[in-house]
Symmetry: C2
């Protein structure tokens, strides 16, 4: 995995990273900020998991990471607390209109969702179908049932229509997924 | 914050990063792994928050982060679920025998703990006094009360003795902090 710096230098290309994860991630982060400011919930995106190999200290106060690698995530991206309850979810975008490819979710993340459900937590996916603008919340229980009963490598849109919950975009918060959580779990949350 | 690569090159020194965060962090990670395998709790350390500036792709399958910076954490390092309840804590080591310096905890982290308590979560610190081998769990409520009532910039060991809970090292899990959580929150957890 380690990159022998210099050898492939001419082949490599650099990209700026600043626009990565806009769209759904950005909207959810803004919604979480809204919930936080309103004292409604404390839900954060976890930092991207990386392995740091080399850090430079050009001055006493400054540290620059000069070599690091992305790690496969072992948990989901978002977790936190809402009305005393543990909340845990993964958010993904797809350009496909008719299905959501399961390869977008790592096996470790599915196992993590299963463990959270077993511990009594509230776990789900938020899937954005970017070409149609449709947005669904799918309970982890329904994701796990789909995987158990199917050998398909993607979840068809019809499964979201029958088992998922459509989320409408609103002004503030942009994606009010806790409204759906209230609806699903009712008085328990 | 950005580092104009090359200008300070001769001044900079590189360090390997692999041994950072051993000790307390290592023991807690092992304990969390034990809890996970035993289906007792799902608690993970969050990745280190960084800002990624430049990524190289020497091949299609490989991404190397070539420039990134550490960010001030806005939350604590550990969170998860135990018996349906949201758990959130920060773990810190100090070499001091008689006090724990509060500068080791960022103001954002203290605010985060306050918000978690307000949402009904279980929040605390685990502090390791490495020169004496003493280990304490201090509830976030007691940390917040100390800060409110004192202008001191450190918490004396006597406060841990009177308000905290001593944790004994055990074989497996190495640091059985959920035993203390059970003791404190009793039938609620």
């Amino acid at each position: 995995m380690k990159h022998p710096c210099g050898i492939r230098k001419n082949e490599s290309k650099s990209v700026t990273y600043s626009n990565r994860g806009m769209g759904l991630e950005h909207d959810i982060n803004l919604s979480n900020e809204y919930y936080l400011i309103q004292d409604k919930a404390v839900i954060h995106k976890k930092p991207t998991p990386i392995t740091i190999v080399k850090v430079d200290y050009p001055s006493r106060l400054e540290a620059v990471i000069k070599e690091a690698y992305f790690k496969t995530p072992s948990t989901t991206d978002y977790n936190g607390i809402y009305k005393g309850k543990y909340i845990d979810f993964e958010a993904k975008e797809t350009k496909n209109k008719d299905f959501f490819p399961l390869r977008n979710i790592h096996i470790h993340q599915i196992e993590h969702l299963r463990k959270v459900v077993n511990q009594g937590g509230i776990a789900f996916l938020i899937i954005s179908f970017t070409s149609t603008g449709q947005l669904y919340l799918l309970k982890a229980e329904d994701l796990l049932e789909f995987i158990q009963k199917n050998t398909r490598k993607s979840i068809p849109i019809s499964y979201f229509e029958t088992h998922g919950y459509s989320i409408k975009y609103t002004y503030n918060p942009r994606i009010d997924y806790l409204k759906i959580v209230d609806h699903i779990y009712g008085g328990d949350v």
